[in-house]
């Protein structure tokens, strides 16, 4: 077998192992499905009446791409906690002593978490359709909208993999990522239009990749009303391009860093 084929085969073994856990641990499925449903319903009906939007769009249509982005970014933090757990339990030691591909544990992990995000996003989309969200674009564009979300979350997974390998305690990974991910998702256009932000925060939010992920998927789902004003920031004028750039940079930096950390780590 060639090295690439071996890597793919080993990664598939690890992905399968991680997905079996999803099947057997109800908490994970609850986290991945019920909490997104709850977010969609709560935000839709609690903030729905209070937030002023440009004419031509309902809050459900504005909100859903934002909730998608928030959920998949949070979902990708599972990667870090799971790797820290494997490290704590000595499983990483076992894997590292096997003649398997050196990146398969991390690939298998991030791919399984991508799968979990696909489940979350499907459940949210169905819930969204039930509370008034609609796709107004072509099928290809809609698929593009989902891909932007999933690919960005996949990149964040690799960043979280490094965090998990360095922090080594699942609880600390969860708390630490919460402190970073929470402001990152809320200081964005995910839930409210940026026009209401104070100017210093608005500058941050405009260049925050979470905003551009949201903006890109809104455009691709056709959730931006015709005649809406063109945003000032370059990032929001070209949200898909800007998001893809971020994704490429995150992957280019954190895939090698995470693999390197994996090769050097050992449980204590």
């Amino acid at each position: 077998m060639s090295t690439l084929a071996e890597t793919v085969s080993d990664s598939a073994v690890i992905t399968r192992r991680n997905l079996i856990k999803v099947k057997r641990v109800p908490d994970l499925i609850v986290f991945a499905t019920l909490s997104p449903i709850m977010f969609v319903v709560l935000f839709r009906y609690i903030f729905g009446g209070a937030i002023n939007l440009p004419p031509g769009i309902t809050y459900a249509e504005f909100l859903l791409p934002g909730i998608f982005a928030q959920t998949v970014v949070f979902g990708s933090t599972v990667t870090g906690a799971s790797i820290a757990e494997d490290l704590q339990k000595g499983l990483i030691d076992r894997f590292r002593s096997l003649p398997m591909s050196r990146s398969a544990v991390l690939i298998g992990r991030t791919v399984a978490d991508l799968g979990l995000n696909v489940i979350s996003i499907t459940v949210m989309a169905l819930t969204g359709l039930a509370v008034g969200w609609r796709i107004h674009s072509s099928i290809a564009e809609a698929i593009g909208g989902f891909l932007v979300l999933l690919v960005f979350a996949f990149a964040i997974s690799w960043l979280m993999a490094l965090v998990g390998l360095l922090v080594r305690t699942p609880e600390v990974v969860n708390n630490a990522s919460f402190i970073v991910i929470f402001p990152l998702t809320f200081a964005s256009n995910a839930f409210v239009p940026l026009e209401t932000f104070p100017s210093w925060l608005r500058g941050f939010a405009e260049w925050n990749p979470v905003s551009t992920v949201v903006q890109a998927s809104r455009e691709l789902f056709g959730n931006v009303p015709a005649g809406a004003p063109v945003p000032d920031a370059w990032s929001l004028q070209h949200p898909a391009l800007y998001t893809v750039l971020w994704t490429v940079v995150i992957l280019a930096v954190f895939v090698p860093l995470s693999v390197r950390a994996y090769l050097r780590t050992a449980s204590r």
Partner: protein
């Protein structure tokens, strides 16, 4: 006989702390080497280096005739590792765990399944094969862990404290499994804090303390280093230990060892039963309640005590009244 493991001048530092200060050892093919030492002696570090998890700072090592520094990939295909904590995936069943490891050793689907089935049977796990490992007892997890490390028939097996934390019955069962492996020709490097375990399983032993080899040889050779017999007694009340120690000091052929925690006194002696009779005569003049008294041949606990000044399982200097108890859970009496 060729050596399955060769270690020369192995050094490993963690920051300021030198975990290994130049360790040399060899394991002949088809034999068991017991690597003995207290917690923190560096046993696990040796195993981590030999199983390619850690890079040494100096020195070299060969496993199965392959150089660790340049042929780590080939080494991994020929070794099995059972770490200190049972590294099994709790959410997978026993069978799934073994099949996964088999696949990662690149055995192929069918062979992984066959090997998993026969190992589950050999380790008495067939009934639990299709239950998640989460439901297993500590002993079952350990057995599953050892089974996982055997799935690709490794030439060299590393067992890092394979029975730590097991109840006596599981420990005995594990010893039997390990003895079977040796019988089948597997080379084993076993670390342990339990001297009885090494005495029972290992052909040769290397004793390390604070990262240095302090003794090596067969169990008999090590015991010979400690010399003759010992008179041991236990008193009912710890306050009586000092008076008893003073009364017996004239009989001692070396350092007496009083352990306050277990209220036990150990006196190196010569002269056999005559000395025992003399000791009893001397004790009759002391106000102390002796619970038991007897002569004993040295065991590996004594070896350790003599070589390092502290017991194998506490890692603290002996004689300290606050010392952690010198539990001799595994030591033969």
């Amino acid at each position: 006989m060729t050596n399955a493991v060769v270690v020369e001048g192995l050094v490993k530092r963690f920051g300021e702390n030198t975990a290994l200060g130049g360790v040399d050892l060899t394991v002949s093919e088809g034999t068991v080497l017991g690597l003995l030492g207290p917690n923190g002696a560096g046993k696990t570090t040796v195993v981590r280096i030999l199983s390619t998890l850690l890079q040494p700072d100096a020195g070299r090592a060969e496993v199965a005739g392959l150089d660790l520094a340049t042929q780590a990939d080939q080494v991994r295909a020929r070794i099995g590792l059972t770490g200190q904590y049972a590294a099994v995936d709790e959410y997978l069943t026993g069978a799934e765990n073994l099949e996964m490891v088999g696949r990662l050793y690149r055995l192929g689907k069918r062979e992984s399944r066959q090997r998993a089935g026969s190992l589950l049977e050999r380790f008495d796990l067939t009934d639990a094969a299709h239950r998640p490992a989460k439901t297993y007892s500590g002993g079952m997890r350990r057995r599953l862990d050892v089974a996982a490390s055997l799935i690709a028939r490794p030439q060299v097996l590393f067992l890092d404290e394979p029975t730590t934390g097991l109840d006596p019955r599981s420990r005995l069962a594990m010893w039997e499994f390990i003895a079977d492996l040796v019988h089948d020709g597997t080379t084993i490097l076993l670390t342990t804090q339990y001297l009885e375990e090494a005495d029972r399983l290992a052909d040769r032993m290397v004793v390390i303390d604070r990262g240095e080899v302090i003794a090596r040889g067969t169990a008999d050779e090590l015991k010979a280093q400690v010399g003759g017999e010992r008179l041991e007694l236990t008193v009912a009340v710890v306050e009586q230990l000092d008076a008893v120690t003073e009364a017996l000091r004239p009989l001692a052929q070396g350092e007496l060892h009083a352990d306050r925690q277990s209220r036990r006194l150990s006196v190196p002696v010569t002269g056999g039963t005559d000395t025992l009779a003399e000791a009893l005569r001397r004790l009759s003049g002391v106000r102390a309640d002796v619970l038991d008294i007897g002569l004993r041949r040295p065991d590996l606990d004594d070896v350790f005590l003599t070589l390092t000044g502290h017991s194998a399982e506490d890692g603290e200097p002996a004689g300290d009244p606050e010392a952690v108890p010198t539990v001799s859970a595994g030591a033969s009496r």
